[in-house]
Symmetry: C2
Subunit: 352 residues, 2 copies
């Protein structure tokens, strides 16, 4: 088992984590390394569930902050081991999100007498189907371990605060016709032609941009796929438009579904995936204090992240982590070392 050196600086520690391969469903080695490093710290109580590790203080400080990061990465793409060049650390997981994990480990090791109780959650399987998600599993198996006044998810957000997140919903919009040989097409009904008005509605869609807690969210309704066709000489009897609705966090799941069903009224709509967003919660005292500590502006998070898991538990949560999310899942994934250092510095100051 590789050993992590918690006395190394945060960039060196990021590099150590990156060089332990941990593609989703293969987190055992990195989880072992993280667990054994945390168990050397006497001020923390460590719990493990699968390859998810929770390390908590219990100082009775009256306020608790959860800081979370996933340990897994998307598949290898010829981008390991890590490579440091001109202040940029390159490699799989540098941005999404071992830079954030390294910050968490440094906080765990160095902030031995925090001003708020802390719980660090290193979890498995964020990059795959949500049934495997370690944080989601924990919300079901051990909700007590997550109880907190505020949560910080260290997903890449350019070392600035991105608050809340938008929800996401997928539906299949299906048209049905009648097959015929294309040489006698008038004997059939072309289901692809029938999908024309579905695309026309999508073309005419105007995005809602609600302001919530001073942040402007931006919804989106898009065909992300379309399929239809039986053979080159057949009038097809089915066409399916796959639609993704990204909705602002002031909508519930039910509200989002009602909107989409109404939008495609007259068509066969099947919901294939639905996850509510998370309200920014910037009116909550713990969140306000953190925003003041970080300084600078707060941006809305457009993509869905696991902050929504905390919202389900009634815990305000923000995204705050090193790295530009545009480079997550890219072959040339990378993180500026300055981001990692800045996140470490800000959080140490806030928690000390």
């Amino acid at each position: 088992m590789p050993r992590l050196d918690l006395s190394a600086d945060v960039v060196a520690l990021t590099r150590q984590l990156v060089d332990i391969e941990s593609v989703s469903h293969h987190e055992e080695e990195i989880a072992d390394a993280v667990e054994s490093a945390l168990r050397t710290l006497p001020h923390l109580a460590v719990t493990r569930r699968g390859h998810t590790i929770v390390a908590s203080t219990d100082l009775g400080l009256g306020e608790r902050v959860v800081i979370a990061g996933h340990l897994d990465t998307v598949p290898l793409n010829d981008n390991l081991p890590a490579r440091l060049e001109d202040g940029i650390l390159h490699g799989l997981g540098t941005c999404d999100m071992k830079g954030g994990d390294a910050v968490m480990l440094k906080l765990a090791a160095d902030v031995t007498a925090p001003n708020r109780d802390l719980a660090f959650i290193f979890y498995e399987a964020e990059e795959v189907d949500s049934v495997f998600n370690g944080l989601r599993k924990l919300t079901e198996s051990d909700p007590d371990l997550l109880q907190a006044d505020f949560a910080i998810l260290m997903e890449p957000s350019n070392a600035a605060i991105e608050a809340g997140c938008q929800g996401t919903m997928r539906v299949d919009v299906r048209t049905t016709g009648e097959r015929a040989h294309s040489a006698r097409s008038w004997k059939g009904v072309n289901a692809i032609h029938l999908a024309g008005p579905v695309l026309a509605r999508l073309n005419d869609y105007v995005a809602r941009q609600p302001e919530i807690d001073g942040l402007t969210y931006h919804e989106g309704l898009n065909a992300t796929g379309i399929r239809g066709g039986v053979a080159g000489n057949v009038v097809p009897d089915e066409c399916v438009v796959e639609v993704n609705f990204r909705f602002a966090p002031d909508r519930s799941e039910a509200d989002a579904e009602a909107f989409v069903r109404d939008f495609f009224e007259g068509y066969d709509v099947t919901v294939t995936d639905l996850a509510a967003g998370a309200l920014p919660g910037l009116d909550r005292p713990a969140a306000k204090a953190f925003v003041d500590a970080v300084g600078g502006g707060v941006a809305p998070k457009f993509g869905w992240t696991d902050v929504a898991q905390f919202t389900k538990l009634g815990i305000p949560a923000v995204n705050f982590g090193p790295g530009d999310p545009m480079f997550a899942h890219k072959q040339d994934e990378h993180v500026p070392t300055e981001h990692v250092e800045r996140c470490e510095r800000i959080l140490k100051e806030w928690l000390s």
Copy 2:
């Protein structure tokens, strides 16, 4: 090698042919059987090219008729051997088109002193890409063997005459956008949405139905496929609508292409396949005589068939064969024995 018994009745002979498996590209065995049967007939000169057999009389009769049929079938679908039940012969190839082949063999064997010179063409690979088509190859390698005043293609047409055939053209109509993450969709351009107006035009299409030689053809313009999409969280940058244009035989290939390009003006159109139709040619004396001999009406052929190969050589040609073309390529392919017998009787009378 199986042997064919040319003294058997035409239904028994159909059954013999059906029971020799001959999926496209596997016609050697059936071609061997047909060739050796024909070589027992002293009034015919036999030529073989690949698995295509031509058997001709050379009586100097001043008029020549070609009768053609393909030997291959589409793939097996648990529908062999042949099964005779209540006057219907079931099995792969019964309809498309070994009933017609059996009629040709009976004519070859029994009409030893025809009133017109004859050429029988049994050819390979009609059911696959046209580069393999035995009749097409023959038009290029041995056009002399096909010279005739009139041609009969024994494709299934309910034992009645279907004249000419419509042309067929395939195009890809492509829209191009710009990729973006679907959580920030306003940063991209959705190529599937851009395909909406393409489908709208197809929806509004009104089919031309020209009358040619007293027959009413019926064109058709249909999406036979549509594809687009990168991933469930990506605004896609490309969408392709596959369109099949079936056009009346008064249009040339160039005319058909011009129509389609004009119809989709403003879009990127790529022609992927184009085959002209065949004019009915019912004004030609040989064709007229045959129509009179068969009696009854003449229908237009909507589907494309190899009659177009003869048209390219300036030879009027019709479809006339046993079986309902709606059952070609179906698991329950079958032919009424009455159709096979009627075709044999009519042709024998006309040629004797």
